[in-house]
């Protein structure tokens, strides 16, 4: 645009974000009703929040409650907004920022398909054993492994499988829970 056509102002303030982002794991207790996932995901996209991982499943069948574990990357100010905006949704019971509230456990499950023969096959099995990955399917030329652990462990196992004939991976996303006797 020609310099003389540059606007001297704007109807809105165009300021850059200066805060550093952090990675937090949130646990969200919700009514298991139709559309609840769309409400949560829609809130994230509408307000421009980033989701790294999202896991949802019914956890208390008789109370029709589901638990959503969501990993977000945001500035501290936006993290507070994400929590309060989620709590504003009518079917949301509770939101806990596990990262902010103390010690917690994170686990992820992955199914990993590896194809190969000969020496590769033996090496694949040795590594799978070291990572305590279970063989859940096997053919003469392939394995499907089930591996559970922290996301970093799953990442390393997948990285090791890559040169050994990795075909495809499926991951559940993160499930997280606070340590100690207290419930949510």
């Amino acid at each position: 645009m020609n310099a003389h056509l540059q606007p001297t102002g704007s109807a809105y303030f165009l300021t850059q974000e200066t805060q550093q982002t952090e990675r937090h794991t949130l646990s969200v207790l919700v009514d298991n009703e139709p559309g609840i996932l769309a409400r949560v995901v829609g809130l994230f996209s509408a307000r421009g929040y980033n989701i790294e991982s999202l896991t949802v499943s019914e956890t208390e069948h008789d109370k029709r409650l589901s638990r959503i574990t969501v990993v977000v990357v945001a500035t501290p100010k936006v993290l507070v907004q994400i929590k309060t905006q989620l709590e504003r949704l009518v079917p949301v019971h509770k939101v806990h920022d596990l990262t902010a509230e103390g010690a917690y456990l994170e686990r992820e499950l992955a199914l990993i398909k590896v194809k190969g023969s000969g020496e590769h096959r033996a090496e694949t099995l040795r590594l799978a054993d070291a990572f305590r990955a279970h063989i859940v399917d096997a053919t003469v030329e392939s394995f499907v492994f089930e591996v559970t652990g922290k996301p970093e462990k799953v990442d390393s196992f997948i990285a090791l499988m890559a040169p050994l004939g990795l075909v495809e991976v499926v991951r559940t996303g993160l499930a997280a829970i606070g340590r100690g006797p207290e419930g949510m």
Binding site: H4, L5, P7, T8, G9, S10, A11, Y12, F13, L14, T15, V30, D31, P34, G35, A38, R39, G42, L43, A46, K77, V80, Q81, T84, Q85, E87, R88, L89, V90, P91, V92, H93
Partner: protein, 589 residues
Amino acid sequence: MAEKMTGAEMVIQALTDQGVEHIFGYPGGAALPIYDAMFQQDFVKHILVRHEQGATHMAEGYARSTGKPGVVLVTSGPGATNAVTGLTDALMDSIPLVCITAQVPTTLIGTDGFQECDTVGITRSCTKHNYLVKNVADLPRVLHEAFHIATTGRPGPVVIDIPKDVQFAVGDYYKPETETLRHQSYRPKMDGDLAAIEAAVDLMLKAERPIFYTGGGVINAGPEASENLRELAELTGFPVTSTLMGLGAYPASEPQWMGMLGMHGTYEANMAMHDCDVMINIGARFDDRITGRIDAFSPNSRKIHVDIDPSSINKIIRVDVPIVGDCNRVLEEMIRIWRSRTNQPRTEAIAPWWKQIEKWRAVGSLNFKNSDTIIKPQWAIQRLYEATKAQSKDVYITTEVGQHQMWAAQHFHFDKPNHWMTSGGLGTMGYGLPAAVGVQVAHPDALVIDIAGEASVQMTMQELSTAVQYRLPIKVFILNNERMGMVRQWQDLLHGSRYAHSYSESLPDFVKLAEAYGAKGIKCDTPADLDAAIAEMIDYDGPVLFDVLVEKDENCLPMIPSGKPHNEIILPDTADIGDIIDEKGRALV
């Protein structure tokens, strides 16, 4: 207890049990069973609109002027999509609406049926909550829950989407019971934290340059909240300013009133916000039209923020004392605690502050150069205000969006809450005319005036037909400058006066248009005739379109340009700046 009836009958029965006397709607194929049930009773009165957007704005005007929820009934597909603007408007301005949308039968959902749309999907992000009722057994609970959610906490719009087969299905209807309404996860916090309120009062007791910054939350908290705000202002002696949405909560006739703040607020209100040492925000949300540049917003103040919505706290501005709760209850507590600490206003301690405010006030930031050959829009509003003051009737004002809206906020003065209806958050052109219809339905004997612009009013002009049909004597006061004035002003100030598409060509003859609708048309283009023409408008017993031809290129001032702090406000060239603004500030004038 339970009574057998069809889903459609449940809708009407629930409206009756909720005390809903008026609904705004438009029929269509999927909504016919509900319309049939409505035909067979006469408690719930239906106002037939001309476009569903009109229905939603009417319901907003109705709700805002009564404190009761506004109710809308529309059909599936286009009926629902046309309602989206009004729903979004109600969400942004926290207006309680219940919008019932009909849906194609459950068996057709997802098949791209005739007049099918994903109503709950589309309205999810523009409602406080929404429901698709697939089973008639859920309908009574959902209907009552919708009213509960729309009207409590931070109010907002709720959509209930009811497929046609559910309207025909027979089930058990239950009356609303408070027991069953105890929602499992929805529990708005009403009472503010006592320790926080005490900390707030302690700050206020030490303040030397305090200011009350109040918003629409005070109006939403009911008339008692406005009463309590007045009492607290009197007890403390602090100055009061308000957002666009909060006008009327504190009387404009009080000496402690400083006028509206924000982008087009008064010089004194904005300067006081910038220089204060304690800011008491009651029911406002630090909107970007209020704060100006965030990092220069009121840099030296301790901030107290009362809001019923926890997500409003620290969203834009970091505050020192957050209080989550209903404005009325928090104000009551503040008054009680203030009284327990002292029985004196802080008159002496804040006398220098008032002296400073008086200096700012003397600038006369709302002044304008009047003319005796052409009608100035500000003057037209002043004359309208003077004429309505003499009325014995209650006067309600609605507006469209743009320059005329800001001039109305600046030059029309409100002493009571719920008498000012405007689209603040969403800024919806076309809001005012239908909103006026809704207000007039709720207050048949009142004088209801839509202060409009010629561009905005054409967006929902067809609702004049609704006003004529129901003999609703609304007055549409059009400040006609043949421009989209606010757009033109921004282009003037920020885009080198390149007026891209901001003028109105081929304008209708509003007098003939009014007559074509069966209303009265009046036109005025000379200052000398204005008072008589306003009197003619007010005295006419029926809807009026009043076309006031005003100065075409007037800018709305004062104005805080975007990206600037409050103390860099642009003043009109009639302002008596004296030695108050330094050289830098003067350059901006």
